[in-house]
């Protein structure tokens, strides 16, 4: 038993030393991985910094453009704004009156045409009246014509002229509406010309900024890649550390636990090291995380339940 115990202790020392070396190696791996991550993050940070949007301004003779992270702000020159506003309001004004029908305008034009024709009609009426008076027929009333045949003919001609005026007024009103639409549409469209011209003037600058942006955007994959590299490094380091710890623990276990699940050994170790749980656990679970994982894993092994 003493040899066994010494052998056990020697095994423990060997295992412990191996474990300690492994632990050191694991820590180095972890640190290396962490360093890689840090470097990758640092480089990524630099890339991110380069890829970040930088506000810019484009200025032309028609106005300027300010690009901010929150958006674009365009500003026309006062003259251009004035022109735009005038065209816009004029066009809007022209178009605003549309859609109300042509009746009112028709009636207005009709009234004007009637006023123009009224003097001549009155002259004709007076001339006819004088002729009828000379013929002794003024005051004539007939069932056939209402008055004299000439009076009927005159009134008929006046009515025909009124109808023609009404038709002409309606046609004119519709033509005016069409013209108003055309003008309004034109003005309205022209009101956007300053903006369009201004936008066109910005294009070279914007193109340049776009190219810059394109380059910046090209860094984003690199940025991600760097972050990936960092993660890979970290993961790689942890993986190596984990492998090392695992090997160490395996060795330790192999040294400490040749017969896994031996209650008598457990009793012996317990008697010998009343606090062997903590020691062994400390030896086995010194590295948090991985050690915890190893401890919890080992605790599932029969005979190491006490590690859990």
């Amino acid at each position: 038993m003493g040899n066994d115990f010494l052998g056990l202790l020697g095994g423990l020392a060997e295992a412990g030393g191996a474990y300690a070396l492994g632990e050191y190696g694991a820590r180095q791996a972890q640190e290396t991985g962490q360093l890689g991550k840090t470097l990758a993050e640092s480089y990524a940070g630099r890339l991110q910094e380069q890829a970040q949007f930088r506000p810019f301004t484009v200025t032309t003779g028609l106005g300027g453009l300010q690009a901010q992270p929150g958006g674009l702000t365009t500003t026309l020159t006062p003259e251009q704004q004035a022109a735009q506003q005038q065209l816009f309001s004029s066009g809007l004004g022209m178009l605003g009156g549309l859609g109300q029908g042509t009746e009112a305008r028709t009636q207005q034009l009709f009234s004007q045409l009637q006023q123009m024709a009224a003097p001549e009609q009155e002259r004709q009426r007076l001339a006819l009246e004088e002729r009828l008076l000379g013929q002794g027929r003024l005051g004539l009333r007939t069932a056939q014509y209402g008055g004299a045949p000439e009076q009927l003919a005159l009134e008929k001609a006046i009515q025909e002229q009124q109808f023609a005026n009404l038709l002409g007024a309606r046609q004119q009103a519709m033509a005016e509406e069409q013209q108003q639409y055309n003008i309004g549409s034109g003005l309205f469209g022209q009101s956007y010309v300053p903006q369009q011209q201004y936008t066109a003037a910005l294009q070279p600058g914007l193109a340049q900024m776009s190219e810059i942006g394109a380059l910046q955007r090209q860094l984003i994959p690199a940025l991600g890649q760097q972050y990936g590299f960092g993660l890979e490094s970290l993961i790689g380091g942890e993986t190596v550390a984990g492998n090392i710890r695992q090997a160490g623990l395996q060795g330790l276990f192999n040294a400490l636990l040749p017969d896994r699940g031996n209650p008598e050994l457990e009793a012996i170790l317990t008697a010998m090291y009343p606090d062997s749980k903590e020691k062994i656990a400390e030896l086995l679970g010194a590295q948090p995380g991985v050690g915890g994982l190893l401890t919890s894993t080992l605790s599932k092994i029969p005979g190491f339940g006490w590690l859990g």
């Binding site: 008076l133 000379g134 013929q135 002794g136 027929r137 003024l138 005051g139 004539l140 009333r141 007939t142 069932a143 056939q144 014509y145 004299a148 045949p149």
Partner: protein, 508 residues
Amino acid sequence: MAQQLQNITIAAPSFYGVNTQDSPVQQDPGFAAQANNAVIDKSGRITARKGYTYVSTNGADVLGSSRGITTLAEFIANDGTVAVVSAGNNKIFTGTTTLVDATPALYTITGDNWKFVSFNDHLYMFQKGHEPLVYSDHAGVVEPMTSHTHATGTPPEGNEVLAAYGRLWVGDIEGDGNTLYWSDLLNGSGWSGGSTGSLDLQKHWSNGTDSIVALASYNGYLIVFGKKTILIFSGANSPSTMTLTDTITNVGCVARDSVQDIGTDLIFLSNSGIRSLGRTIQEKSNPISLISRNVNNDILGALAGETLPIKSVYSQQEGFYLITFPSSNIVYCFDTTLPLENGALRATTWTGIKPISFAIFDDRSLKLGLIEGFATYTGHYDDSASSYTMSYYSHPLDFQSPATIKMLKTVSVALVGNFTTQAILRWGYDYATTFYSANLTLTEQTIAEYNVSEYNECEYTSGLLVNYPRVNTKGSGNNITIGVETIVAGGSLSVQKFDILALIGRLY
């Protein structure tokens, strides 16, 4: 030394009719100072007018105390059916010998100043303030126009109506004396639609405010008589295009029924006398002459005092134009056969006959509307049995020697006619109104006697009897007025001439 008798002949006394207008001094002996109940016959002699014989027999029963028959017309339908329509006593009568009340039921008549016109197989009756009446053969009754089969619209209730140029023309409506209405073509009951119409003449009177009094058609023109203006329209066949061709100012018509077409002229009573619208073919104008020139003052005097409707008639057969002034009980007779040189017509007067209305029937006989019905102007008895007096008086005659005294010795009168009557010669001197008189002995002539037995009697007539009664006269003076009065009882009498034997004495 005895002076020789001088023979002074007055041939055809009153050949020129009555002349009370000019100064009686040195008047032509052909003019008469008085020619009463006389006419100018075809030979130019002053002749007793005819009398009248009643056609209707029951006039006294149906006319009551009214003036008598105020309007009379003979209606001849297209199929030849004859109907006599008359008005009086605020009623409408049909019939000849028996007047039958034909007033439409529920139709109220308040006056007797009707105007009857025959047009297109209808007899239309118009009076101011009354719905026009229509008599037609197909209806067989007198009916209000609006009840008539052919009626359209509302007929104007005019006082004057004219049937001419294919339609009725109506004027002088109560409250509207300026509007002339015309009916539809060939339909006197159609007053709406078709070719009806009206013309406001107020705009065309040339002498201030006027109103329509009478209408006439003459020589293709439509004549509109106002009281002070006459309008002459041409083209009345198409009223919508007729035109005023002439306007005569300051002359109008004052009596609706005084307008008569005598064929060669249109006669009417104006406020200045009886006038005519003469016709001048070459100039197409319408000069006016005063046909009552020789008796104008008398006419105007009668007109001034007249309160009843004045009636007139033109008889082509008798050759005269009659116009009656009922208030004065006098009828003026104007001979239309031979106008005088001054354009006047020869005028005589009638008294005692008192016609209220006149009508010419299809047989050209003159009918008289009288107090007891209507009568025919015929025979030489008034009312079939009453005699009347014809009188003739000359103007004072000086026989071309106004300064010498004349002494009538003998007067003989040539009287022509068939008569059994008496005649009286009257003479006076120096504008005296009292006359010497002497009976003229006339030879009787047997005349046709109705319903008298002539068995075993021999009676001969030598035709027209001429009497030359002679009277010894007396007195003296510068000028002599001579006259004859004769009682007409069944026979006509004409004064052919006067033969006067007179001594021309010393200077006066």
